[in-house]
Subunit: 216 residues, 2 copies
DNA sequence: AACATATCTGAGCAATCGGGCAAACTATTT
DNA sequence: AAATAGTTTGCCCGATTGCTCAGATATGTT
């Protein structure tokens, strides 16, 4: 009765350590999202993770490294959301799916989006070395959008700014949720109605493309 | 030959003091915009304003008060931008004018917009008492937009979310200018082409309203 | 049981934080 | 010239910053 998944103690310890790093990263994301890199203290992060300050420093090598790890995690998440499985010849479906995924993600993980926003507002000091892959992705997508325009599938739009606007509107629901909550008079912690938000945002961008079939 | 604008020394001194407060406020806005309230130090603000730290503290009573003054200034600016002189029965003209003013303002004063963004991302701890007038304004505008919809002047939109999206897209050009600069491969300090940005944003929201007359 | 390794704690480091204060300096009014 | 008001400076305070380290404790292996 010592077997089942047959884990050695060493493996279990490694697993625990890995879990703890995850907890720390999440705490870091939340704290950095609220107060930015400069404004966040390692003590606050430690407390958020349920650790003492020296205990935290036992697992991380520096505040900077922890911040960079959090940024790296975010970039991974952005890549994950991008709907690569969608037929790029059906602009309507593509936009619908992208908006839906992005809005649902930012409403579920507002801190992730907010940390990214903090970083960029501060002048992107840590991101500046990482725009590369980001840029490549955007440019690839720009070519797809341009082809939609060229083939007359959608009304003419600036492919790059179109994406920028999509980002702005979707991210906004996480970054400015305090403002939105005040406007909508939501209770603390309450999020706006997802279906409605997704509908409105989708409609906005579909109409911009001349694709407003008003599908349910 | 002691007259001309007939300023007593006392008045000149008062004027100098007032100018200095402006300089300090501007420095504070820039520093707070970059690092948020918690992340900004009074020393950094003082240096930005060309003062020593005790010298700064001679003119302000606390970091908090300075921050609140900066916030108050921002709210005044938002009110100033709102195009109250426009005929509210011409949705197209209204949207065009609002977008133009807002984009030009945020491109000229990115720090103002970024400070507001920092505050809201941090959970709007100082703004929470000030949403009132803000809310009233938004609701007033919501009624106007609803009347457009009811009279069939524009296609149906959610009046509140429509404004939220307008905010998101316009503010974005200030808050995320580091990202946009990277995407557009702008030189440091360079801003994107205003005319083009205004055109694209205007088009986006006009089309959402079914008002795309493609006017020059 | 003995040993090794991983983890945790209390104390403390130098640097910076927001802010105060008396003395020195400057400018203006009498 | 003397008195007054406004401004600037150097020096300091207690608290907090990121981070270290020696020792205590827990955990795992033999």
């Amino acid at each position: 009765m010592d077997d089942e998944p047959k884990l050695t103690n060493r493996e279990k310890a490694a697993h625990r350590r890995h879990e703890l790093r995850r907890t720390i990263r999440q705490a870091a994301i939340e704290e950095f999202a609220l107060h930015g890199f400069t404004g966040s203290s390692t003590l606050a992060i430690a407390q958020r993770a349920g650790l003492s300050k020296p205990q935290l420093h036992y697992y991380i090598s520096s505040k900077e490294e922890l911040y960079e790890e959090a940024l790296e995690y975010i970039l991974g998440e952005w890549r994950r959301i991008y709907p690569s499985t969608i037929d790029p010849d059906r602009p309507g479906a593509f936009i619908r799916e992208y908006v839906r995924r992005k809005i649902e993600y930012v409403l579920d993980n507002p801190s992730v989006s907010r940390l990214f926003a903090s970083e960029v507002i501060a002048g992107a000091p840590f991101m500046s070395r990482r725009w590369g892959p980001f840029l490549a992705n955007i440019r690839k997508e720009s070519r797809v959008i341009r082809s939609w325009v060229d083939r007359g599938l959608i009304r003419p739009v600036d492919p790059l700014l179109f994406q920028v606007h999509l980002w702005a509107v979707t991210q906004n629901y996480a970054d400015f949720s305090a403002q939105i909550g005040a406007l909508m008079q939501l209770r603390p912690g309450e999020t706006p109605d997802r279906g409605h938000v997704v509908d409105e945002v989708t409609t906005l961008f579909l109409r911009a493309c001349g694709l407003d079939e008003k599908a349910a």
